[in-house]
Symmetry: C2
Subunit: 331 residues, 2 copies
């Protein structure tokens, strides 16, 4: 039910997903008065073996303070969907709803993995040759060095399992590469990472190198990560708008547009945020993927795909194992 | 002497500046063995009434720890140039050298304005219709609410004098617009700004709205600002590279290039970092402009232009007055 587009985005994306992803079974949790007509319209009423609707008329509202969720939101679609993960009826949950509410429901119902203080939101970013992962992008505004270290461990597991790299290179986001630069927390986290032989720590990464593919995992606190990812998206939108303006207008511009449009299309597949939708909540005993609130159908499809990838790669279990190993090794 | 290009960037930019900016007199502080041949090569040896060379063979090295500057760097070109500001021989100083060294020299020689704890680095960012200002972008990694408030005052003066707006709209960079979001410092700064009737505070600004022109001044701590500005530049470079790749290659691509190149040129003038080079150190009793280390000739020219604008608009004096007024008003 969540996100700017609501069921008009999530239901078509769900139908596309079961069509494209073999053996996927989806539970749609929300208002069946809105969901069923859409399924029928999309010709998906015969898919009852692949799509199950779980009805509730309650939903988390964007204006709710997150703390209200636990008091009166327990019949909301978001809360019920997280309960499905907890009970084991589903293996992962995807939502375009409020991040704070999702974090709170996730922590309350699923609990964090042993050794992880708080979950982090990880975003996938388009780097040079393959995707890389940035975390935290909004769950924790202030982070101690221990937490930054935990983010590095979780990001390593994600990158190694989803990107199929043997050793994920981990960087700390900082304002320079010199070792005297940065906040105390970042400097302390650097020491922790240097002392851990189970993590391939490569040092500080500056903002301008974020998209150069120097690291598979980039770690920062949730305030910095959130502003970084959103301002990057802001630049990408501005460029998209400038390109679009160029392809509109008078005859000569239309002529140009004929040549420019394919370029635009290619550019969009490379910097299009839709392709990289689906930040995950890492560190919980279960998989929760958070779609951007303003995701379109394509974007929400990628968020579902991300959830499938995490389940097929047993990401939460691998994190649990890795944290236990590292702690056992005395780090 | 500073920056990646050294005198090969700064000297041609200096010559361009005296050609384009009426009544500008420049002092070039550095190694005359490198500067004089370049001036001669550029046909600028007759400009002795507009360009003065102050010789020193010493320079701040990129690997120096900033604290070394004050111990053994007092004959460096950077230090001597700041001394010219202090003695009143020049009205502003421009450098492409190390930011930390520049900050330290500036604070040591010029002192901060009464009521300002520490200087901030302000960056000019391309917004919708006119430039807006982001500060701090790297001088202070941790900031108390008081400092964020001081940044708001300084940014207001800069925007109102350089942009000719009657009331500069000030926003605080945050991870959401809801008032319960953000760090304690940001929330406290919001209270201070709401309580000050001399500042047009408009609330929280998210990263994706940074380039939409919603605010004339956006305030954040130096860690967040530095990563934001650099990651935005990273996206812009990535887009530039993608566009350039499109215009190279086979015959059909070359044909496309014919149409795409003008588009690229236009795009570059709009998102080209060169046009927005010249972050200033605000809060000192004197004008210091910091050019990016990797600025080209065009970029360094804009940094000089920025210094001229600040002098012509008496920015440090206006900040002094405004801080005194606000403090007198009990804020």
């Amino acid at each position: 039910m969540g996100g700017d587009g609501g069921v008009n985005v999530t239901v078509p994306a769900a139908v596309q997903s079961v069509q494209k992803i073999v053996d996927l079974h989806l539970h749609l949790v929300g208002d069946e008065a809105k969901i069923l007509p859409l399924l029928s319209q999309l010709g998906a009423t015969q898919m009852t073996d692949r799509i199950t609707v779980l009805h509730t008329s309650q939903r988390v509202c964007a204006n709710d303070k997150p703390t209200n969720i636990l008091r009166k939101g327990k019949t909301s679609s978001m809360f019920l969907a997280v309960e499905l993960v907890k009970s084991g009826q589903v293996q992962a949950m995807v939502s375009a709803g409020d991040t704070g509410a999702l974090l709170l429901s996730g922590r309350h119902l699923l609990k964090t993995i042993a050794g992880i203080d708080k979950p982090a939101i990880v975003a996938t970013i388009p780097a040079a040759s393959r995707q890389s992962f940035l975390l935290d992008v909004g769950a924790n505004v202030d982070c101690k060095a221990d937490q930054l270290f935990q983010f590095a461990v979780m990001g390593t597991v994600l990158a190694e399992s989803l990107n199929l790299v043997a050793k994920a290179r981990v960087g700390l986001l900082n304002i320079g590469v010199e070792n005297y630069k940065g906040t105390e927390q970042v400097k302390l986290a650097a020491e922790l990472l240097e002392g851990c032989d189970q993590i391939e720590y490569i040092g500080y990464i500056e903002g301008n190198d974020l998209y150069e593919g120097m690291a598979d995992v980039v770690v920062c606190d949730g305030f910095v990560g959130n502003v970084t990812i959103k301002s990057s998206a802001g630049v990408a939108s501005k460029v998209n708008r400038l390109l679009l303006e160029q392809t509109e207008g008078g005859l000569s511009n239309r002529f140009k547009g004929f040549f420019v449009r394919p370029l635009l299309a290619q550019l969009r597949t490379q910097i299009n945020p839709s392709r990289f939708n689906g930040p995950s909540l890492l560190g919980l005993q279960g998989s929760i993927v958070k779609s951007h609130g303003n995701a379109n159908i394509e974007g929400f499809f990628y968020a579902i795909q991300q959830a499938v990838n995490e389940v097929e790669n047993s990401v939460p279990e691998l994190i649990t194992d890795r944290v236990a190993t590292i702690m056992g090794a005395g780090n």
